[in-house]
Amino acid sequence: MSILFQGRATGATAVKQSLWNKFVMFWIHHLRQALTSLGEIWLTPASSLLTVAVLGVSLTLPVTLHLMVKNLQQVSTSVDQAAQISLFLKADTNETQIAELIALLQANPEVADVQFIDKSQALAEFTAESGFGDALSYIEDNPLPHVMLVSPRNTSSVAASALLASLQQERYVELAKLDIGWLERLDAIVSLVRQVAIAVALLLMVAVLLVVGNTIRLMILNKKDEIEVMKLVGATNSYIQRPFLYTGIWLGFFGGILTFLIEEVLLWWLKQGIANVTQLYESTFTLQPLSLSELGYLLLVAVALGFVGSFLAVRRNISQIEATGL
């Protein structure tokens, strides 16, 4: 397109090209510029490595917190599954009433399973396990009530509490009990950690933006003369900007990869310690690493940060460099 000279054939666009050809050239052009930017990073490894390192370390903290939340949630759900409601029946409940209650509970759609423990059976168990042994045989009456263990179908603490409240109203039930206090506390801690993770992630993302922006700004200043020459021979701002944007994207990408590597090393290092703890608790807990989709999100966020950081730097700095020429 020539503004001064109507009909002057300028640029490759003046040459007739098929749409497909243009489309292919567009991508080839971008690919070439992306690779050129990669080459530039390769040429100045010291400053680029430093930036990538800052990115990698900055992103590691929020990712670590995210993994912590994820694993804690895994613990709380695995405990949730075991949640059971104990119904202590009234002392004068007889056999038919018990059968009636069992039938009623089994018909309840909220209930997954009902297990009845007879009070004599309970006493036998207690005698065997409590260690009081013969001392208990001096008790004349069995002081224990009949117990029913009810497994809720929906194991979340809210649903279990609702079921607990309704079972409490049953005619033959003396006391219904669900020990979810500590579960609620764990949930609260997990959500606190999640909130902290979000806050830390936001702060560090801002830091990453500033670091990328500053690196790109220095690169622009280093190439001030070159940019001036390009402006003198008719390069548009967007043309001059593009390589710097690609550089930002590459920095973000490598920062994301570095974060992943640091995270893997960290997990490998913590694995033994966590195994020791879980063994002591006889738990089947296994450490959840970063999943493939989470890695994808990580890289996406890192690349986006690199792009936005360089975009901010480029927009401010490139238009400020004016061709002083001549």
Binding site: M1, S2, I3, L4, F5, R8, T10, G11, A12, T13, V15, M25, I28, H29, E226, E228, V229, M230, K231, L232, V233, G234, A235, T236, N237, Y239, E322, A323, T324, G325, L326
Partner: protein
Amino acid sequence: MLRFEQVTKSYSGGFVALDRVSFHLEKGEMAFLTGHSGAGKSTLLKLISLIERPTTGKVFINGVDLSRVNKGQVPYVRRDIGMIFQNHKLLMNHSVFDNVALPLVIEGFSGKDMTKRVHAALDKVGLLDKVRCLPHTLSGGEQQRVGIARAVVNRPPLLLADEPTGNLDPELSKDIMNVFEAFNQVGVSVLIASHDLSLLARMRYRTLTLKNGRMINDGLTSSGADE
């Protein structure tokens, strides 16, 4: 082709670089712009290449009023003007080929088409054998010729040169001028700023003389230019 109408350029602080300058360079004409340093030669060239804007008056290229060209259009205007600089303005860490190809790359050329044009431009300035060299391995005259090749590679209708023979010995200066003449002969309008009066005297082209921002002579090199 190039027309100045009562153009004044004053800078903040009251310095008047150009004072009501008017002239008209015809299509296919070659002319010199001369005067002492500080007389306004560079300012005049800057107004043409839109590095600066006039305070009052108008500049036309091919009938297009440059005051109507907005900021985003400036790069496209510069693509129609070949500019040659006293200090060459080459990219020192890129090869001669890359330097000459720069205007083409910016316009979206690639591949064989680009290579053909770059080689043609380098051939015209006699540097085809230096295509792979880095600029700093070349002499001053050769660097200047690379600059010329870059200016003409996309075949602009108008060529501006600011002291193109500034640091060159007379023999090399003549070579460079011959290159400009060759372009002029194929229809390119050429405006060369130079204070090399002996060179101008030999060349016998129209000469625009500036003194303290005023156009004091417009014609063949004569006694008016040398004081």
